[in-house]
Symmetry: D3
Subunit: 236 residues, 6 copies
């Protein structure tokens, strides 16, 4: 059984610079190889996650890292530009994301699970849910015209697989290398590996794709769940 991503336009909406790598980069890489167009929207700048040896212009450094990672994937990169730890489901944030949806024109959006561990992730989840509807509503005016239809919406796995019941698994066995290479672009984040609030990220990422893989009979997988809501659930 295979899910075919060709002809799709897949937009991953994440809170922080390395979240796409951790939760959906394998799926994005596979969709790209299938012929899909890929976008990654990172809503926060990554400006609060300083390593022990502080990086001077952290937001700029992280932006360059994100660009490198997106380039590896062949993805278009969209930056929300919001501050870490302060993301809210407010009107300006919604309009910003609606405009990004209208620029990329996704047929499928991937978003953080509503109950994920970080308030930025939960705000990003609510923003993506809201934008996935409003992007196609002409009453919400932004620079670009409204889309013809809302994209499908999938919730992504949570960090550490906590409290996430997978609806289905995407086989990323052949896309582990690019997923790891993308993560390696985030040097300023990886430098935090030994510090107080992060496990070494590569270990965390490997444990998760292996565990999801073992659960679904392949060497590596990513887990998702269909958002069951008007126009965002789509038959395959």
């Amino acid at each position: 059984m295979k899910l075919q991503f060709d002809h799709e336009r897949v937009l991953a909406v994440v809170a922080h610079p390395d979240d796409a790598e951790l939760l959906c980069a394998g799926t994005l890489a596979r969709a790209k190889t299938n012929g899909a167009e890929i976008g990654i929207c990172v809503l926060c700048q990554g400006d609060k996650g300083q390593p022990d040896k502080p990086v001077k212009n952290l937001a700029a450094t992280r932006r360059a890292e994100m660009q490198a990672a997106a380039k590896l994937l062949g993805a278009e990169l969209f930056l929300g530009g919001f501050s870490d730890g302060e993301l809210a489901d407010g009107r300006p944030e919604r309009l910003r994301l609606i405009e990004i949806f209208r620029q990329f024109r996704p047929t499928l959006a991937l978003a953080h699970s509503p109950e994920d561990y970080h308030s930025d992730h939960r705000a990003a989840s609510a923003l993506a849910e809201s934008a996935s509807w409003s992007c196609a509503s002409r009453g919400h005016k932004t620079k670009s015209p409204p889309l013809a239809a809302p994209p499908a919406l999938w919730w992504m796995d949570t960090i550490h697989m906590h409290a996430f019941a997978p609806g289905f698994f995407v086989d990323i066995s052949e896309f582990v290398a690019v997923k790891e290479k993308m993560l390696a672009c985030h040097q300023s984040q990886l430098a935090r590996g030994q510090d107080r609030d992060f496990s070494p990220l590569l270990d965390l990422m490997r444990l998760q794709y292996q565990a999801r893989g073992t659960q679904s009979g392949v060497s590596a997988a990513e887990a998702f769940r269909v958002r069951l809501a008007f126009k965002r659930a789509r038959a395959w």
Copy 2:
């Protein structure tokens, strides 16, 4: 088995002009016939849902449509006056809705399900939950005096029945005509039937009341769930 609505004062709190029609108008009509008093509070103006051929003063047009629908039912109409797509669970919105509760004095409030498809629906759900408590708290000052007790609170079905586990079903077999007539009042909304983000509304409504009816052994039904919370759950 019958639920008796007589002596109740039922207030439906919805986000948009036609939501009451879609989700609870049959129940309201039945309660009215039983002898209950009915109120409908529509929080948003319906100002963003333009049909292909734009209506000039859309909010005014939709207000007139709502009044016509409420009149058919014999319901008191309350308008929140907020803009479509921008409804928030904030202090001004809460005070506005608390005052509406205090004017109508409901013994039962019907509200959108917390996980419904649209951010306005989710905000309306949170506002109704909050107002259903605070309307009876004298610390919250509004023009009208606080109520003697919070009303009971029920969550309404979601649009398309997505991810809603019914707690119980209300038989509306004899009230389908008024439900359909009320919907027919919303001409400016129905005119959007063929456009990008709406299925023909009458089809959607019929499919839902027939499906809920078939699930519960009648020709038409509406589904609800008791909000399990202090003072809002009430024994029958």
Copy 3:
């Protein structure tokens, strides 16, 4: 808001002699007062629950106690006659219960929750679910003719309210006296109050109807959930 039980025929299907008292006797008493006909089907004999000072013919003693309790309520009593602790969801048990359904002809059946604490309760739950369908199926031959339609089915609360999410609450404030008097009939069971595997039953029962009452704004209540299944869910 009131649920009207008049014209109903309510059959409570329980595992042991005092389960109806603990979980639904208030509702049965109220339904009876409303004009409903009441049946109680006790599947097990109560033959294994000896008090410290053993009762000689325990099953006979408990049968007399059940008859006294049913008489208080004005209920018809049906005895499954199975042994305590050995109830199974097997063919003979199903046929026995189908025949009881056909004799009483319920329009509403009350059954133990599928995850209740005792294997007899779980078997009784499965048997009631199965009989509530098969009683109306002419392919299952028993002495009495098949019913015209399956009854509605509600799950009852669990002992101690463990892991039971109420769908709704029935106000039994005016029926506490009869519920307590019915329990008092079960002297051989109450004699076990201090022994190894039972808390004093009256305390347990009071705590539960008070807690369910407090949750739903009355002095005493019983909690139920609609069984969401073909023909057993019914609109009110």
Copy 4:
């Protein structure tokens, strides 16, 4: 987004002669068109569902009807031969089904949801779950050799969509005709349409595929959920 069924061997395991039509025939037809091999295993004979005007050799009649329906689909038909209303999750039933799995060698099995409305459906669900594991275990001896690996397993929707949270939807818009033609083969069952325990089946089927379709943006769909268990969940 499309699920590709080519190279699969799909086995639907159902309780009664017309269950595959109601719950998964569109998916089977689509998989067949994709290049998959299809099997249908009906565990019960359909011997208890007499129409008002009794059919003489009902089991034989229904067998012929099943064969006609399977032929329309190009599916291999397997008959469990058990009696209606008596299906149990016992040793002989398990061995029978293990042998059927070994004859058909599925890579994907479809089974009733564990909480469906009928005890035969629930037993069929448990049997399919068990056989989906044991078919690949050489310790369970049957006539045919064990499979190299367990098939994936999906739960099917329930009758009337009661209490079933879809994990995903399969678009069957192009396969509605064959689904309806297959149902039309079951004349002895359709003859029960007006009798006591069945709604007209075609109406029921249409309402369900339309409701699932509307929920997922197509004209007709069937809903499924991945069984999350060792070796039966498979990444796509």
Copy 5:
């Protein structure tokens, strides 16, 4: 089986002056006796809950009552200072609570359940979840330095045990006296006992600790659930 709280630093984060008494004071008292350090953070002033005979400087009165209750327990008291009924999950509130976490340096935080009955409780829950992460993130600048690691986080029971599935129970049989004495400090709140929106608090509290105790085999208990999220779930 015993949970050992020694060497812990336990911070209860609640919305209103008497919430800690109702939901976790027994656990705090036991932890204190075990050798833990205890903090109570009350986010709202209790300024809106006037008894029938209004208290002049209500916020000051309630502050004195909180101090008396905290003193009984030997707990450090932190006051958020926000207005009743207006608590929001906003930036200033988060920074205030992050600073409180950094002052107390908890190893375990107790917070309201996300679905509790009052919007202040739900906001307090979101704030505690957010602060439990951000307190250890150096990007969030407050007066005190960031913590070395986030504390564990437990959700507390809800008022009236509505819709709360306990993950585990803490035996507070020996700490009922201090729990009741602490509640008795809140005279201005207890004076509301007969008024419109509160049941007598002592009755409510007793019913709840007895019901949770009976569910878990002791005379009194409090129920909690581990927050399943990155860094906040901790093995024991």
Copy 6:
């Protein structure tokens, strides 16, 4: 925070010879070190899991392996003696397990989760649930006298962590060596590592204890959930 197991008598009830190793051996080892007495009851003989190169008297070989593993732990071993793949929740199996409970006299029982992957696991779960109640009921006669009270009951994690929401985590960081040594005793099972229906067991076990450890902030953990039922839930 620590759970103290001293003075407990912990009985793990599992289906197959190596299940205790996979799911709870670390916890058992820790409890033993704490001063608890440990029992392991293996209900099936392990007689159907032949490696590629068949072992002659497989049941005897596996019995010896189990004895070696139990000896490493210092646990008492109880053998149900039932055949693999045929375990049922029947009367003889229940009486056998009740007698084992009465011989070991547990204060805490660990059992498979009700929805685990294998029908033997699900039957073992139901048997343990039933025996955990009936062991203290004098109406169920077996050779040994009834216990004074039912033990507490915890559900164990599932194989591969599928569909199991942990209630809490037990830190087994210091007990990984004995867990791995115990697994190494099962040579006839490990010999199946490359065959059709098993992943290499050591890899599976390591992935699971590492994933559960990472989720709960330690290097290795096992996950459990309290069975929420009368007398089996116990406050700590």
